[in-house]
């Protein structure tokens, strides 16, 4: 096999940014949270989802790519499928929590101001349909779109990985082609009760495959471009542009500064189908990041960044925990207080719990390694970055 073995050892930057993305997703998932104003989605077109999908593609290629080279397509493919199953189970677990939350609301809430919002309880009137549709990944409640996207992306990953190893450019080209065709023909998977998937897998695969491509040598091929001052200048200019446009969303009075032709050009910025403006915004962020945070940056190994890195290393567990904690935080805001101090407190406590659990998971892993009770032959999808 002549696939280039490029990445030796772990790139802690990936764990760091996935960990940070997990925190941001948690903060964004708590509704009405003032802390969420600090998250990147309010300052540009892309948000934590892009970081998360890219890093997951990168780490999936890194982990399973190594295994596929060493142990073959069948074994690596089987391990990918086992990971898919784990993510599916995690998704069903989150759905159970959602059902508990919505049932609680159904029995406790009767404010006449919100008669219309109570239509959300329609889903409880036909539990047999709702639950089956959820198991089929067609009914996806709010905040539960990311795991189904991963399930589809990973399910199709083994053959893509194979192609990436032998003909990397061809694989990336095929991914771009699928993205373009998806935009042209409006392909997407159906949802229940209507509509389509909120993260269209046929479009979002581009970011996942691009991440995988970078992991398998693409990043080095792009090296010269990434180091160029022109690239950096363009990236910074684009980030500033996105920031100013985003400001006009929150301050309607500023809308007058955006010329009409520009509005016609950029809107709508489509999250469902990973709008090119979002993708470009992610790329610009990535360019600036790799420029200023080198791979061997000593701080990455210091205790200052231990917390986000350890969260990023247990992504599936910490993602699920984050969704659970956002429900718990919402419950506390509703039942105790929704005041700003409470929002700050819940955000901080939630992140501390995420760090504590991630630390505990690392400890388990080390303890198991020491006793030798579980010899590691299979790739450690968590440590090198799971795919959730």
């Amino acid at each position: 096999m002549h696939a280039p073995v490029v990445t030796t050892g772990r790139d802690l930057r990936l764990d760091l940014f996935r960990g940070l993305a997990l925190w941001l997703i948690f903060l964004d998932h708590i509704p009405s949270n003032v802390v969420a104003w600090g998250t990147i989605r309010n300052y540009g077109f892309s948000d934590a989802t892009e970081i998360f999908v890219f890093v997951s593609g990168y780490t999936a290629a890194f982990v399973y790519g190594k295994e596929m080279r060493e142990r073959g397509f069948i074994i690596a493919g089987a391990h990918v499928l086992r990971r898919v199953w784990q993510i599916y189970v995690a998704h069903v677990f989150l759905f159970a929590i959602y059902l508990a939350e919505i049932s609680y609301v159904a029995t406790s809430f009767e404010n006449p101001l919100y008669a219309e919002e109570m239509n959300i309880l329609d889903f409880l009137k036909q539990p047999e349909v709702t639950i089956v549709q959820a198991l089929l990944l067609k009914f996806k409640p709010a905040n539960m779109d990311i795991l189904p996207l991963y399930i589809v992306l990973l399910l199709l990953f083994p053959p893509i990985l194979r192609l990436l190893q032998f003909r990397a450019s061809l694989a990336l080209g095929a991914s771009v082609l699928l993205y373009v065709l998806t935009w042209h023909f409006n392909w997407n998977l159906p949802s229940y009760p209507e509509g389509h998937w909120f993260f269209n897998p046929f479009a979002w695969q581009l970011l996942f495959v691009f991440g995988a491509w970078c992991a398998l040598g693409g990043a080095q091929r792009l090296g010269a471009v990434l180091q160029s001052r022109i690239t950096l200048g363009v990236a910074v200019a684009y980030l500033l542009f996105a920031f100013v446009i985003t400001l006009t969303w929150y301050l309607p009075g500023m809308g007058q500064y955006v010329p009409h032709w520009l509005e016609q050009l950029i809107y709508p910025i489509d999250k469902v189908n990973l709008d090119a403006l979002r993708f470009a915004h992610f790329l610009a962020l990535a360019v600036v990041t790799v420029r200023f945070i080198p791979r061997e940056w000593p701080v990455l190994k210091s205790r200052w960044l231990w917390a986000p890195i350890v969260c990023g290393q247990h992504s599936l567990e910490i993602f699920c925990l984050g969704v659970f904690l956002s429900f718990a935080a919402h419950f506390a805001m509703v039942e105790i207080s929704g005041a700003i101090w409470m929002q700050l407190l819940l955000s901080a406590v939630g992140i501390l719990v995420m760090i504590a659990v991630a630390g505990l998971l690392s400890w388990y892993k080390r303890a198991e390694g020491r006793t030798g009770s579980r010899p590691k032959k299979t790739p450690d999808a968590d440590l090198a970055g799971g795919e959730a």
């Binding site: 998932h29 708590i30 509704p31 009405s32 959602y98 939350e101 919505i102 609301v105 406790s108 809430f109 009767e110 404010n111 006449p112 101001l113 919100y114 008669a115 219309e116 919002e117 109570m118 239509n119 959300i120 329609d122 996806k140 409640p141 709010a142 905040n143 949802s191 009760p193 209507e194 509509g195 389509h196 909120f198 500033l240 100013v244 400001l247 006009t248 969303w249 301050l251 309607p252 009075g253 500023m254 809308g255 007058q256 500064y257 955006v258 509005e263 016609q264 809107y267 709508p268 489509d270 999250k271 469902v272 956002s326 429900f327 919402h330 805001m333 509703v334 929704g338 700003i340």
Partner: protein
């Protein structure tokens, strides 16, 4: 080149200058900070109807959150409150607000009825409240936007001004109903068609944040619902007067 720099700088300056204004207006319930109401989109048909014909017909098209239940419902919901406030502020104008609310309707359903509405009521202004059921049912954001645009264009062709009104801020259900993409699309459609957006979501959020209303309340509190609707009615009235460049006569006339 100069212009390329001047635009963002001016934008930032505008953003910064607005923040103290927002703080200054806190305190009284119903108050809406300037940055949530101010826009540059005008209501030309309204201006014309009021100045030339001394009459103003407004139609409210919406769903469940534009009505209130109970015997007091019809006169305490925001369409009736809007009519009362406008009549007080513009005593010499014949103001009529028609409420055409239908529950359990998606934006697409409502858009289909716009042509008939324009023909039947001949409104100068249509206030279109929508988005909630679309978010609950998670309608395709693309289809949602297409339906909004279709509805707005039908109304414009029929000679009516439009104000879009987005969803309510509902802290108890907001973790279950993903409003974000729908609110974003309503803002984009408003910007592109140069129509005012009554950002009910941000405004009610503001009222909740400053403690004007306890929107977390779970019980059957009709008083709260009525007060909120009264404030919404006042808010839209200010928006109409502002966007149509009308001059309230209330103090002189009363």
């Amino acid at each position: 080149m100069n212009r390329a720099i001047a635009v963002p700088v001016a934008a930032l300056a505008a953003a910064l200058s607005l923040i103290p204004g927002a703080r200054a207006s806190e305190g009284q319930p119903c108050d809406i900070p300037g940055y949530l109401l101010s826009g540059n989109n005008e209501l030309k048909h309204v201006t014309e109807a009021v100045q030339k014909e001394k009459r103003l017909t407004i139609a409210v098209v919406g769903t469940g959150s534009s009505i209130l239940a109970g015997p007091d419902g019809p006169r305490s919901a925001y369409p009736a409150r809007l009519e009362a406030v406008l009549k007080a502020k513009l005593p010499s104008v014949a103001v009529k607000v028609v409420s055409l609310v239908r529950t359990r309707m998606t934006t697409e359903d409502l858009a289909k009825g716009m042509e008939k509405l324009v023909n039947d009521e001949k409104p100068d202004l249509v206030i279109w409240q929508t988005g909630t059921l679309d978010a609950i049912r998670r309608v395709d954001p693309d289809e949602f936007r297409a339906a909004l645009e279709e509805g707005v264009e039908t109304l414009h062709k029929g000679g009516a001004d439009v104000i879009l009104m987005n969803m309510q801020y509902s802290p108890r259900t907001d973790i279950m109903v993903p409003l974000g993409p729908y609110a974003d699309n309503m803002r984009v459609v408003a910007q592109q068609h140069e129509i005012p957006l009554f950002d009910r979501l941000a405004i009610m959020r503001h009222w909740s944040d400053i403690g004007a209303f306890d929107l977390y309340a779970a019980g059957k509190d009709n008083v709260l619902a009525q007060r909120v609707h009264d404030c919404i009615g006042r808010g839209i009235a200010s928006m109409i007067i502002d966007a149509a460049h009308l001059h309230p006569e209330s103090k002189a006339a009363q």
